[in-house]
């Protein structure tokens, strides 16, 4: 990331994808950085993203699927997002 002039952080991820990203899912440990990104207009959700066990992986997948279905439902319902 540094070689591309991007910070090695969730802000760098948001920047790498800035031209098309609707939602960024980050780890709970990044909650304060997430709050900062939200003030810049990025939609961010937090969950445990560390995948050590099979249950961690399934939990992350469930959380992400739940976030995207909520976002999609909100869009379909015309709820204003930002």
């Amino acid at each position: 990331m540094e070689s591309q002039g991007l910070p090695v952080s969730i802000a760098g991820v948001a920047q790498a994808y800035r031209d098309f990203l609707d939602l960024l899912v980050v780890d709970l440990r990044d909650e304060s950085a997430a709050e900062h990104l939200r003030t810049l207009g990025v939609r961010v959700q937090c969950t445990n993203t560390i995948m050590r066990t099979a249950e961690d992986k399934a939990q992350l997948a469930r959380a992400v699927v739940s976030f995207i279905s909520k976002e999609s439902a909100a869009r379909a319902g015309g709820v204003k997002q930002q």
């Binding site: 991007l6 952080s9 991820v13 609707d22 939602l23 780890d27 992400v64 995207i68």
Partner: protein, 226 residues
């Protein structure tokens, strides 16, 4: 339908979780091929292989790559013959590389070979390489430019990275089905893969990045661990 852009070990782990939660028929995977290499004269696609093995339930979770319970007799024999063995290919894994190389030599595309191998291994999800043409991730370091596998596997990512480029990407077309998958789905997920070295090659194919900008689908990314 959920479309997932993925590469690397973080992507494979994420897809492993996703297959527990989403029916395989509802998943389309668009996979990085920037790490592909010719090894012992065979065409090896590390990320396509990992995703195929994950979805077939065959991935070695201890190693994070290759086939679980695989043996390495061929690797040892190649070592005895004085051949390079830094890229560790297991025997069952080797069969996949042999089949892919044979199909490519017969004139099949990378997409076609990927679909055929996945079907043979009982995978019901749709696996698409990002492109059928060659895009190569090149890592600039103080000792010169390296392929991704030379940088990552052979030299244990010890060299400071000065630049990253994706040779061939600017002229590359997405593989058949890639743009339609992005345009026609409800949601696109970017796996928690390295945004530069694993997702970067996919985004470097101009028509793929444009499709992500144009689609009405919700585009969500999961940040890798920092």
């Amino acid at each position: 339908m959920i479309v997932v852009l993925t590469g690397g070990t973080g992507g494979a782990k994420f897809v492993d979780g996703l297959r527990e939660v989403v029916a395989p028929e509802e998943l389309t995977l668009i996979v990085n091929t920037g790490d592909d290499l010719l090894w012992w004269g065979l065409y090896v696609s590390p990320d396509l292989d990992s995703i195929t093995y994950v979805l077939a339930g065959l991935l070695s979770k201890e190693r994070g790559w290759g086939v679980k319970g695989d043996t390495f007799f061929c690797l040892q024999a190649m070592g005895h013959l004085g051949q390079p063995i830094w890229f560790q290919v297991g025997d069952r894994d080797l069969a996949v590389h042999l089949l892919r190389s044979r199909l490519l030599a017969e004139g099949k595309t990378l997409s076609e070979t990927t679909a055929q191998i996945a079907a043979r291994l009982g995978v019901n999800a749709r696996i698409l390489p990002m492109s059928d043409s060659r895009v190569e991730t090149r890592i600039g370091t103080p000792i010169g430019e390296l392929s991704f596998e030379e940088y990552f596997v052979q030299r244990w990512y010890q060299d400071p990275v000065q630049s990253v480029r994706f040779a061939g990407a600017a002229e590359a077309e997405p593989a058949p089905g890639v743009v339609d998958a992005i345009m026609l789905t409800d949601s696109v997920l970017l796996a928690p893969s390295n945004p530069i070295t694993s997702i970067g090659p996919i985004l470097a194919v101009p028509a793929i990045r444009q499709a992500l900008r144009d689609t009405k689908a919700l585009v969500a990314a999961v940040s890798p661990e920092y």
